[in-house]
């Protein structure tokens, strides 16, 4: 690759041709602040925080989009640059709701951090008109507060370009510009799928999940209630980031310890029901293959993906696995099998789930998600909300010992934990389906073709005399591309895994937010996924059908996978929706 030599702040730097000044500076260990820029998502040079001086240029240039050239001389820190950034911040604040003290993002707000660095405070430097907006609380999972919006457009870019949905965008012009949905519909009335990627990329407190931490604290404090908690695979790979640990730190043990100290009656694991999902889904797959059912079978663990399918590919809802997601299966089993076994009144049981996902808040309210006659799951909180609970409860997370989950619903295999990464559900399903079809033990358990962070992956395997073709997509823009290929007859598969968020649940909309300065230069999803593959590798049991707690559940209660009882508790139905309901 061609290399370009330039000078940044008087120091010689080499950078690959095509790099931006921002990237070249980073190679020289200089961080240029950004607000609107997000690598691969939003490069519009609009916020003007990243301005730098370039020798010979007429004015300051935006380093996030300005390419380096041979012999270029750049200064990132001159008084002129600093004065410009300061003015930009003052102007942003002049139309900003400066309620930082109670803001959900206080402490990890990218605007607040810059204001601290540039000594811009909340004095009313530019008094005059201010916009006032109503909150949009119409969606099940989140709130949009335009009073804190800085119009960086990261949210609209991720929604439209990455997820291919585009239910939010910039409306009106000039000072009246605001981010909203068409015709001022609430987000809840649109085809928003609740993926929460907009929350994950927002630099300020303008978009946030609906917070249910109080409801959880109240349930725990209620002596009448038996409160159990389940944690999704991807949570343990990211929760540590909220306590300052590096991306890619495994905090499974500390998380279990923290949940116990928060006062949950039982600390269980969604890994258990991920194994259960595999039992049911592998059975469904084999049944569809052997009995001429609708193929390709498409996974249904990701509620963002499921709602996307309902809106954008309603004629493919028959392809969706009828299996509930692991979150819902967990609740259904907790309130039936476990409640009966332990003699607990299911009406008094509260199932809380901790998820890397905001769509899970939508999923718990879907129809046909009440296997035991009561809602499978009562409260779904995100990884971020759990971090907030731990903080508020004064639990010194980093000092906690590693503890185990409770049994039996806390027992999961290596196959289950990789559900949190793109390709993981497919790999877990293959481990079980292949052994079931061949009746022989697999020699190698790693299906590496379906691993990795590529948006679309394909593989085929020879199993018991047939070629099984599979595909994996993560991110809904990729899902659309893959499904269009299938619809147009350009590709044929037996089994497809789709996760709504790019990279899978590790990069879910409910995970701790990382600022642009980290996102732009770190493979966050890859590092988090590595945690899960490592846990899998070190787990003595790596196949769902070998989970002893699952075997016991079938022997004592469900019978066989796909049994009548299993269908009653563990399977669901879908709705054919439209993109625009007018």
């Amino acid at each position: 690759m061609e290399t370009i030599t330039l000078k940044i702040n008087g120091v010689e730097v080499s950078a690959p041709a095509g790099s931006t000044i921002l990237e070249a500076a980073r190679l020289a260990h200089i961080e240029i602040p950004t607000l609107c820029f997000l690598k691969d998502i939003n490069a519009i040079g609009a916020c003007r925080i990243c301005v730098v001086e370039v020798k010979g240029a007429k004015s300051l240039v935006t380093s996030c989009v300005y390419p380096v050239s041979e012999g270029m001389e750049v200064w990132t820190n001159t008084p002129k640059v600093q004065e410009s950034r300061k003015k930009t911040l003052q102007l942003i604040l002049s139309d900003h709701d400066r309620k930082c003290l109670s803001c959900v993002r206080s402490g990890n707000c990218e605007l607040q951090k810059l204001c601290r660095e540039y000594k811009v405070d909340d004095e009313l430097l530019y008094e005059g008109a201010r916009n006032h907006y109503e909150l949009d609380e119409s969606a099940a999972h989140m709130v949009r507060d335009n009073n804190k919006c800085i119009l960086c457009r990261r949210c609209t870019a991720v929604c439209e370009k990455v997820q291919g949905i585009g239910v939010i965008g910039a409306n009106e012009r000039g000072f009246a510009t605001y981010i909203g949905s068409p015709f001022d519909m609430g987000l809840g009335e649109t085809s928003c799928v609740s993926c929460g990627q907009c929350i994950a990329v927002c630099p300020t407190g303008a978009i946030y999940e609906k917070d249910y931490t109080k409801q959880v604290f109240d349930a725990i404090a209620d002596p009448e209630k038996f409160v159990i908690v389940q944690t999704a695979p991807a949570v343990r790979a990211a929760l540590g980031e909220a306590f300052g640990l590096p991306t890619g730190t495994d905090v499974e043990g500390k998380m279990a310890a923290a949940l116990r100290r928060l006062g949950f009656d039982k600390v269980f694991d969604t890994n258990f029901s991920a194994d259960l999902t595999i039992m049911e889904e592998a059975h469904e797959f084999i049944d569809r293959v052997q009995n001429g059912g609708v193929l390709p079978l498409i996974t249904s663990c990701s509620p963002g993906w499921v709602k996307y399918c309902e809106h954008y590919f309603p004629d493919m809802t028959e392809n969706l696995s009828s299996c509930k997601s692991p979150q819902q299966m967990f609740g259904a089993i907790a309130k039936s099998y476990y409640a009966e076994k332990m003699g607990i009144d299911k009406e008094k049981m509260v199932v809380v789930s901790v998820m890397p996902c905001t769509a899970k808040k939508f999923e718990i309210g879907r129809p046909d998600e009440d296997g035991a006659g009561v809602p499978d799951v009562d409260i779904a909180i995100t990884t971020r909300e759990l971090a907030r609970m731990i903080e508020r409860a004064g639990i010194r997370f980093l000092d906690l010992p590693d503890e185990e989950f409770d049994l039996p619903l806390g027992l999961g295999t290596g196959a289950a934990v990789i559900f949190g990464a793109t390709g993981g559900v497919m790999e877990a399903a293959l481990r079980t389906a292949v052994e079931t079809l061949t009746g022989e033990e697999l020699q190698a358990l790693d299906f590496t073709d379906v691993r990795g962070i590529a948006g679309i992956k394909e593989a085929s395997y020879e199993v018991a005399g047939m070629t099984v073709k599979v595909a994996v997509a993560s991110g809904l823009g990729n899902a659309r591309e893959l499904l269009n290929r299938v619809k147009n007859g350009e590709a044929e598969y037996h089994f497809i895994e789709i996760m709504g968020c790019p990279g899978g649940c590790v990069n879910g909309g409910g995970q701790p937010q990382q600022p642009g300065s980290v996102r732009n230069f770190t493979d966050i999803r890859g590092k988090r996924a590595a945690v899960l593959y490592n846990i899998d590798k070190n787990n003595p049991i790596r196949k769902s059908h070998e989970n002893p707690a699952i075997k016991e559940l079938y022997a004592e209660y469900l019978g066989e996978p796909g049994s009548h009882k299993a269908h009653e508790l563990l399977h669901t139905t879908y709705i054919k929706r439209k993109v625009h309901e007018i």
């Binding site: 949009d136 439209e160 910039a170 009106e172 068409p182 015709f183 519909m185 007018i582």
Partner: protein
């Protein structure tokens, strides 16, 4: 969020066929959205949600994309024009003579904002810039009729004539 009551959509099959053929003709061109929206406004007179949705569906783009453009440019109307189109001059001469108050009074009286139309389709209200009758300031027009030297108290009587 509260839904505002608007004039019911009264598009015909013919208009729809016309719009679909316009889209078919233009959709392959890059940057065709604005041209299509302009043509749609010629066909329907304005761009209600029904029309914008047709455009979005045909072009396979998000409705928000169409709406964002429609609200960015003042040439696009989201509301139909009324049977009686009221425009109040907010040019300098009229403004200093108090046309702002006339405008506010009309908004209050009709229950609509500038650029909107009453749900019965009778009155629409717009602000305009100088009708060339500064000597009569403040001025408003209802269709082709000019009303000058207005005071806020004249409004009730004038609207009366159109009931």
């Amino acid at each position: 969020m509260e839904k505002k009551q608007t004039v019911p959509f009264q598009g015909t099959k013919e208009q729809e066929a016309q719009l679909l053929s316009v889209i078919e003709e233009l959709k392959k061109e890059k940057g065709c959205l604005m041209t299509i929206m302009q043509r749609a406004q010629e066909i329907y007179g304005y761009l209600p949600i029904e029309v914008q949705t047709m455009i979005a569906d045909q072009l396979e783009i998000p409705l928000e994309k169409v709406y964002g453009v429609a609200t960015f440019y003042s040439q696009f109307n989201l509301n139909p024009k009324g049977k009686y189109q009221i425009s109040v001059c907010l040019g300098t001469a009229c403004y200093v003579k108090g046309s702002g108050e006339i405008y506010n009074k009309l908004m209050e009286k009709l229950g609509i904002k500038g650029g909107e139309c009453t749900p019965d389709g009778k009155f629409s209200l717009d602000a305009c810039r100088c009708v060339g009758a500064c000597g009569l300031a403040p001025v408003m027009m209802i269709n082709d009729e000019v009303y000058g030297r207005l005071t806020v108290d004249d409004i009730d009587g004038i609207l009366e004539k159109y009931q």
